[in-house]
C-alpha cells in the first residue's frame, strides 16, 4: 500500500463533503450547544461554502464540473485553517471553550480527511483515449457486433 495510506477516493470524498456540509448547516450548532451564537453562524457559513464548491467540483458527485479536484482539496485546506483561525481573530474565543473548540475540531477533521484522500481523483479516467485508439490493433466495435458466434452449443455435455 502507498504510504501514507489514502483510502478516500474522489467519490468517497464527495460523500464526506455533502454529509459534512449538510451536518454543519443543520444539526451541528445544536449538537455543539452553540445555537444562536456567532459561532453557529460562522459554522453554518462554512458548511454552505463547502457544499457550494463541492457542487461545482469536477469529481463524480459534482453537479457542474467547473473546478478541478485538486483545487477543491486546496480549498478544503484553506477553508479548514480559516475556520480554525476565525474565533481567535474575532476575539470570541474569550467567551469560553465552546466558542472555539468546534472550529478547531472541524479543522482537524477536515485536515485528517485531506491526508487520507487520494489527490489523483481515482474515480476519473486519466488515460489517453486517443492514443489507445491510434495504437489499438483491434476494432472493438466490429469484434462485438459483427461476425458469427464464437462458440458451438452443447459440445461439452
Amino acid at each position: 500500500m502507498p504510504f501514507p495510506p489514502r483510502p478516500i477516493d474522489s467519490t468517497l470524498h464527495g460523500v464526506t463533503d455533502y454529509c459534512a456540509g449538510g451536518t454543519l448547516l443543520t444539526i451541528f450548532p445544536r449538537l455543539a450547544s452553540i445555537e444562536g451564537t456567532e459561532s453557529a453562524r460562522q459554522i453554518r457559513t462554512a458548511g454552505a461554502i463547502h457544499g457550494g464548491y463541492s457542487a461545482i467540483t469536477d469529481y463524480p458527485l459534482g453537479i457542474v464540473k467547473l473546478i478541478p479536484f485538486k483545487a477543491h482539496l486546496a480549498l478544503d485546506a484553506v477553508g479548514a485553517l480559516a475556520l480554525a483561525v476565525t474565533p481567535f481573530a474575532s476575539g470570541q474565543w474569550k467567551k469560553g471553550a465552546k466558542h472555539w473548540v468546534p472550529h478547531v475540531a472541524l479543522c482537524l477533521f477536515e485536515l485528517s480527511a485531506l491526508l487520507m484522500t487520494d489527490p489523483t481523483g481515482a474515480g476519473d479516467f486519466h488515460g489517453d483515449i486517443e492514443a489507445v485508439r491510434a495504437a489499438n490493433m483491434e476494432d472493438p466495435h466490429r469484434k462485438i457486433y459483427d461476425g458469427a458466434p464464437a462458440v458451438r452449443p452443447a459440445v461439452a455435455v
Binding site: 489514502r6 468517497l12 488515460g127 472493438p140 462485438i144 464464437a150 462458440v151 458451438r152 461439452a156
Partner: protein, 392 residues
C-alpha cells in the same frame, strides 16, 4: 527488460528492470509473446489487495517461448511455445494430487500472511501481491516460471496467441464457474458480470448444454458481446432497471435460475441505496474487504435447491450475507480460484476442434508500453473495452 510495474494506487508504469534468472532446477524462463490485463488486476490497481510494493511486476495471463530451462524440467525444450497457468502448483502436495492446484500447499511462501487477510492462503500466483508469494508477473518481456514441469501447456498447433492465451486464466475460470453448476442440459443459468470471465462462463454454459443463459451487466456493449459472440439467450441491463432479482424471477416463471454464476467479485458496482453507500464507505476505510452486491443478489435470485457458483474474486470479509435465503432455499455455494492445470488439456482440445474461439473477447491489442493507458481504458470501460492484450 521492459515490464509493467505497480507504482501506487491507480498508477502503473513501464520500466526497465532486471531480466529474470533461473533460481531453481524446476524453473523455466519464458520470452513473452502475449500477455493480458485481467479484471482481477484492477483490484491491485484500485488498491484493494494489500502487500503490493512499488516496482512489483504485474500480470498473471501470459504465454511465449521457452528460452531457458532448469535441470529438472524435462517436459519442455528451448523453443517450445507455451501458455502459463496463473496458479503456481508444485504437483506433489495433497492439493495438487487431488487436482486442487489453486490451493497448492507449497508454492506460496507468504501463506501465513495470506491466511490473516484472506482467511486461507491460495497457491502462489504470478504478479498478484506478496500475499500470493510476490512472484514477478508476466506483463513483461520475460518471466521466470517456477515449477515449469507442472504448469505450462505446450501449443503445438497453428493457433494464434489470442486463441490460446486465455487458457492461462479467464477461459478455464469461466469454464470452472459453469462446471460448478452441474449443467447436464436444459438448465437456466444466470451470469452476473459480462466482462471477459463472464463471457467465458456464458460460452461455457452454452457448450455444456444450458438451455437459457442470462447475462447481467450495466454496459450494453458487453451485453451485446454476450448475445452476439458467447450466445447468451437473454440479457439484463441493470443500468436501465436495477432490480436484478425481480427481473431474473420474471424471466424464469417466478422460480429463479437453476444456477447463478458470480463473475463480479469484490468491487461490484450495481448496489444501490443505503446498503451500497455503507459497503462503499466500509470498503474504502478498510473495515470491510468486499462489496458483495452480486453475491447477495445471486443468492436471492437462485431457485430453491439451486447452485451459486462464485468465481469473482473476494478478499476477506463481507457484511450482510443473506443467510436466511441461503439456508431456507437449500442452496449450494461453490467457489474457488480456478484449478487451471486441470482444465488446460480439455479446453485446449475444444479450441483445437473449433468448438470455441476465445479470441472473441479481445477488443484491444496494444504494445506493452501502452499498459498504463490500457489499464485506465479497461478500468473505466472506455472505447468498448472488454479485454486488453499487450504485446511486449
Amino acid at each position: 527488460m521492459r515490464a509493467n510495474v505497480w507504482s501506487g494506487r491507480n498508477q502503473v508504469q513501464v520500466e526497465n528492470v532486471s531480466d529474470p534468472k533461473i533460481l531453481n532446477d524446476r524453473d523455466a524462463i519464458v520470452k513473452i509473446s502475449s500477455t493480458a490485463i485481467c479484471g482481477s488486476d484492477l483490484h491491485l490497481y484500485d488498491g484493494y489487495v494489500p502487500k503490493m510494493k512499488r516496482g512489483d511486476i504485474l500480470g498473471h495471463e501470459f504465454m511465449g517461448e521457452i528460452v531457458e530451462t532448469g535441470k529438472r524440467v524435462s517436459n519442455l525444450q528451448v523453443g517450445d511455445r507455451v501458455v502459463v497457468p496463473f496458479p503456481i502448483a508444485c504437483g506433489d502436495c495433497w492439493a495438487c494430487k487431488h487436482e486442487l492446484y489453486s490451493v497448492c500447499e507449497n508454492t506460496n511462501p507468504n501463506s501465513g500472511l495470506a491466511e490473516k487477510f484472506f482467511g486461507h492462503a491460495t497457491a502462489g500466483i504470478f504478479g498478484y501481491s506478496h500475499l500470493t508469494g510476490g512472484y514477478a508477473g508476466g506483463q513483461a518481456e520475460y518471466a521466470r516460471v517456477p515449477f515449469a514441469d507442472v504448469g505450462p501447456i505446450k501449443v503445438e498447433d497453428d493457433l494464434t496467441d489470442e486463441q490460446v492465451l486465455f487458457l492461462s486464466d479467464i477461459f478455464p475460470t469461466g469454464y470452472f464457474g459453469a462446471d460448478l453448476c452441474d449443467i447436464r442440459g436444459g438448465e437456466v443459468i444466470a451470469v452476473f458480470g459480462a466482462g471477459a470471465v463472464g463471457q467465458f462462463a456464458i460460452a461455457s454454459a452454452v457448450m455444456m448444454g444450458a438451455e437459457r443463459v442470462i447475462a447481467i451487466d450495466q454496459y450494453d456493449y458487453r451485453l451485446q458481446m454476450a448475445l452476439n459472440k458467447a450466445r447468451a439467450t437473454d440479457i439484463i441491463d441493470f443500468a436501465k432497471d436495477p432490480d436484478i432479482v425481480e427481473q431474473l424471477k420474471e424471466l424464469t416463471g417466478g422460480r429463479g435460475p437453476d444456477a447463478v454464476i458470480d463473475a463480479v467479485g469484490m468491487e461490484a458496482a450495481h448496489g444501490h441505496g443505503a446498503i451500497h453507500a455503507i459497503d462503499r464507505a466500509k470498503q474504502a476505510t478498510r473495515s470491510e474487504s468486499d462489496r458483495p452486491h452480486a453475491l447477495r443478489d445471486a443468492i436471492l435470485a437462485c431457485r430453491p435447491g439451486g447452485i451459486v457458483s462464485v468465481i469473482g474474486v473476494y478478499g476477506g470479509l463481507m457484511d450482510k450475507f443473506p443467510s436466511g435465503a441461503f439456508m431456507n432455499k437449500g442452496l449450494q455455494l461453490r467457489a474457488g480460484q480456478c484449478h487451471v492445470q486441470k482444465y488446460l488439456k480439455p479446453l485446449y482440445d475444444h479450441i483445437k476442434n473449433g468448438d470455441i474461439d476465445p479470441s472473441f473477447v479481445v477488443t484491444h491489442r496494444l504494445e506493452l508500453g501502452m499498459a498504463p493507458d490500457g489499464f485506465e481504458t479497461f478500468k473505466h470501460k472506455q472505447d468498448e473495452c472488454v479485454k486488453v492484450v499487450l504485446k511486449p
